[in-house]
């Protein structure tokens, strides 16, 4: 099944960013949303030292989990199986969808109701179901809106953040039968809930993501606010959970610090409305819960990132979205411009493992390396360093078995030559002396048109005398 990547060249990326930047309403609304989310997060971490202590713990837990990943996954599978889960392994997106389809066909499922799951977006789950004639309906309100509009999420936590109240009102009035236009938010939510309530009851399968999978106890933790996650995982006959292999932690006691970092970083909440701990199918004597629970553990390029010591840090991510909420580039272009399931800084560093650098290398360059993402990351992923690493990989000589798929995809003759020339000038003193002297002496010849620089700035003109000249005079 095709994945949701829309661009295949740097030009297409540039076209989309230009369109986004040129839309003032879009920029205002993203700025407003980002400011709101930043303030909410900041209010949750009033004491910088307490935040550093908590993220030290969070980072340690994530690194520990990754250091023991193969072992923890084996233990997770054994424990889940003992608890009555069915555990499936999917190497690729196609494998993941095939596993879900097998389950759906076995019970002749017609309807799947979905809780929020970015991994299901990543593997193109909805398309796969649709192609097999099965309805897959999103029940997270933001996801529902995005699906109704025929779009993809523009943010991993707030999928419909790009939509205004008016746009949603219009969408509901047009697409939901019998609904009149209203901008009353409570009313809009009520309408959505009414539609979804019927769907929960009609669904054969509930699909959900997983925030943390606990190896020691065989528990799946699901963090949510709307209660739709609990509905998806308890009402339908069958519950399928889908997640990346990196989401495992060893112990239940590892969950609270990560949960706290997640909710505070993501939405600025001390706790969410729901934290579901799922420990198996309905047991005899229980009144509700699914008859079967499946877990699909998806690799989809993660092992490759895991194999590289530096890139492994991308797997520490707990998907809070704080990096995009604080990214000045994301705030200007929005999530769709990235063209990948995961946008923003985290998208730029995980997408190359999922899709290869061929179609994702422009993302690594779409950053000023300002470091805002790394500063707020609750598990201390060194995002700017990883962006630099991916730039290196994108322009390195292609090699077989490169640590990142598509190494060398951005390698071009001209820029390579320019940078070799740059290194020659700045790496050889005599050349530098001559070139910088010529630039100063020839400053009157400095071009007025300096390409992209002068598109929005006045030209850079060398000073009449270099510092080294002034210092010679100064010391006389």
């Amino acid at each position: 099944m095709s994945q949701t990547v829309h661009f295949h060249s740097a030009k297409e990326f540039a076209d989309r960013t230009r369109a986004a930047v040129g839309n003032p309403a879009h920029r205002r609304s993203f700025r407003g949303a980002m400011d709101f989310l930043q303030a909410k997060r900041a209010a949750q971490f009033p004491d910088p030292q307490a935040f550093e202590n908590l993220r030290t713990l969070g980072e340690a837990i994530r690194r520990y989990s990754l250091a023991h990943l193969p072992d923890l996954l084996e233990r997770l599978e054994a424990r889940l199986t003992a608890n009555g889960f069915h555990v499936h392994w999917a190497e690729t997106a196609e494998d993941a969808n095939a596993i879900a389809l097998d389950i759906a066909r076995r019970i002749e499922a017609r309807h799947v109701i979905k809780g929020k799951s970015m991994v299901s977006e990543e593997v193109g789950f909805n398309h796969a179901m649709e192609a097999a004639g099965i309805e897959a309906l999103e029940s997270d309100m933001g996801e529902y809106i995005v699906q109704l509009a025929g779009e993809t999420p523009s943010h991993i936590i707030m999928p419909a953040i790009h939509k205004t109240k008016q746009e949603i009102a219009t969408l509901f009035a047009e697409r939901i039968p019998g609904v009149d236009y209203t901008e009353d938010v409570d009313e809009l939510i009520r309408i959505g809930r009414q539609v979804l309530r019927r769907k929960f009851l009609a669904a054969d399968i509930g699909l959900s993501g997983v925030n943390f999978a606990v190896a020691e106890t065989g528990t799946l933790c699901l963090v949510e606010n709307e209660g739709n996650g609990r509905m998806c995982t308890t009402v339908p006959r069958i519950h399928i959970a889908i997640t990346g292999i990196e989401k495992v932690v060893e112990k239940l006691e590892h969950v609270p610090p990560l949960y706290s970092l997640l909710t505070r970083s993501a939405t600025g909440q001390a706790v969410t409305t729901y934290l579901n701990l799922i420990s198996g199918p309905r047991r005899s004597g229980e009144l509700d819960g699914p008859e079967e629970v499946h877990l699909i553990l998806v690799d989809n390029g993660r092992s490759r990132a895991y194999a590289d010591e530096q890139m492994r840090a991308t797997l520490q991510c707990i998907r809070c979205g704080a990096c995009m909420n604080h990214c000045p580039v994301y705030a200007r272009i929005g999530g769709h411009a990235y063209g990948t399931t995961y946008p923003g800084p985290i998208g730029a560093i995980v997408s190359p493992h999922l899709l290869g650098l061929e179609s994702t290398y422009p993302l690594a360059f779409a950053s000023t390396l300002c470091g805002a993402c790394g500063e707020v990351c609750p598990v201390r992923i060194p995002i700017p360093e990883l962006l630099v690493r991916l730039r290196n990989e994108a322009q390195a000589l292609p090699t077989a078995n490169a640590p990142v798929r598509g190494r060398g995809a951005a390698r071009r003759m001209l820029p390579s030559a320019v940078w070799r020339g740059w290194a020659f000038v700045y790496g050889h003193l005599k050349t530098y002396r001559l070139v910088s002297w010529l630039l100063s002496r020839g400053r009157a010849l400095s071009p007025a048109n300096q390409g992209a620089w002068t598109a929005s700035r006045t030209p850079l003109v060398p000073a009449p005398k270099r510092l080294r000249d002034l210092l010679k005079e100064h010391s006389r």
């Binding site: 540039a14 960013t17 230009r18 930047v21 040129g22 920029r27 000045p328 580039v329 200007r332 272009i333 690594a364 360059f365 779409a366 950053s367 000023t368 390396l369 300002c370 470091g371 805002a372 790394g374 500063e375 060194p382 700017p384 360093e385 630099v388 991916l390 730039r391 290196n392 322009q395 951005a410 390579s416 940078w419 740059w422 290194a423 700045y426 790496g427 003193l429 530098y432 910088s436 630039l439 100063s440 992209a452 620089w453 002068t454 598109a455 929005s456 700035r457 006045t458 850079l460 003109v461 060398p462 000073a463 005398k465 270099r466 510092l467 080294r468 000249d469 002034l470 210092l471 100064h474």
Partner: protein, 265 residues
């Protein structure tokens, strides 16, 4: 990002090295000269190794590590005495202090030398505050300024606090803070060229928030940001037909020297 606190500062030395940066050498030599003057006034001898060129950051952040290494390698041997190295740029100081060790990770001897060098690299304002104990009389005429701190200065060197302290220490200077002060100005080295649209949008917002403060001047300890912000504002002036710049900028070193009784050459 990396260590911005708990740094050990030495006692005021008799000698320091100046690593002036390529932008200062070619485009803003006054900032370099004023750095020298500020330090000499404190009784410090300033040594400028003439063989210095550039820290290598442009290639490093553009994804050309070999080219960055070739240039950085030339700077490693220029500071043999154990004197502090003062850099009038938080970004270039951070490059040496935080990124040289990983840049030379495959060559242990050089990596060690890079680490040793990084230990004694100081951004100008942090050096003036924590090592020199900068204290001078301010000029009489009042002025209102806004400070822009580069992202690397702020997040890798922590020098937004020391730049702020220096400006707050001048009684007749009113320091005003722009909205979103901690946000990137959109320069990002070659980012400004590679993504001109995004860069312009960011610079636009930065200039707008700076203008909204009513400051007559923007001060920064980093030339890259300064050229971006002031160049962007000047382009707006040009389009609006303003004869005088409505948002001029000055390097922190020049501003400090001018305000505290320094003579113009």
């Amino acid at each position: 990002m990396s260590n911005t606190s708990h740094r050990h500062y030495p006692a005021k030395p008799g000698d320091v090295y100046l690593f002036a940066t390529c932008l200062v050498d070619q485009f803003a030599p006054e900032a370099g000269l004023d750095t020298v003057r500020l330090l000499e006034r404190e009784g410090i001898r300033v040594h400028f190794p003439e063989a210095q060129t550039c820290c290598g950051q442009p290639a490093y952040s553009s994804g050309y590590p070999d080219e960055a290494r070739a240039v950085a390698r030339q700077q490693l041997d220029l500071f043999p005495r154990p004197w502090p190295v003062v850099v009038p740029s938080g970004s270039c100081a951070a490059m040496i202090r935080h990124h040289y060790p990983s840049l030379f990770a495959d060559e242990p001897t050089l990596a060690e030398r890079a680490r040793e060098l990084g230990e004694r690299v100081f951004e100008l304002s942090e050096f003036l505050v924590h090592v020199v104990g900068f204290q001078h009389n301010d000029a009489v005429e009042p002025c209102t300024v806004a400070l822009h701190t580069s992202c690397h200065a702020r997040r890798e060197m922590g020098s937004h606090t020391t730049s702020t302290a220096l400006l707050r220490g001048l009684p007749n200077v009113k320091l005003v803070e722009q909205a979103h002060a901690e946000e990137c100005c959109g320069f990002g080295g070659t980012f400004a060229i590679r993504h001109p649209d995004i860069s312009e949008a960011m610079a636009d917002d930065k200039v707008q928030s700076l203008r909204a403060t009513g400051a007559g001047l923007v001060v920064s300890a980093d030339c890259g940001c300064l050229f971006n912000i002031v160049g962007h504002a000047a382009k707006q002036d040009e389009r609006a037909g303003n004869a005088k710049p409505t948002l001029p900028g000055e390097h922190l070193a020049t501003f400090l020297w001018r305000r505290t009784g320094g003579e113009r050459s």
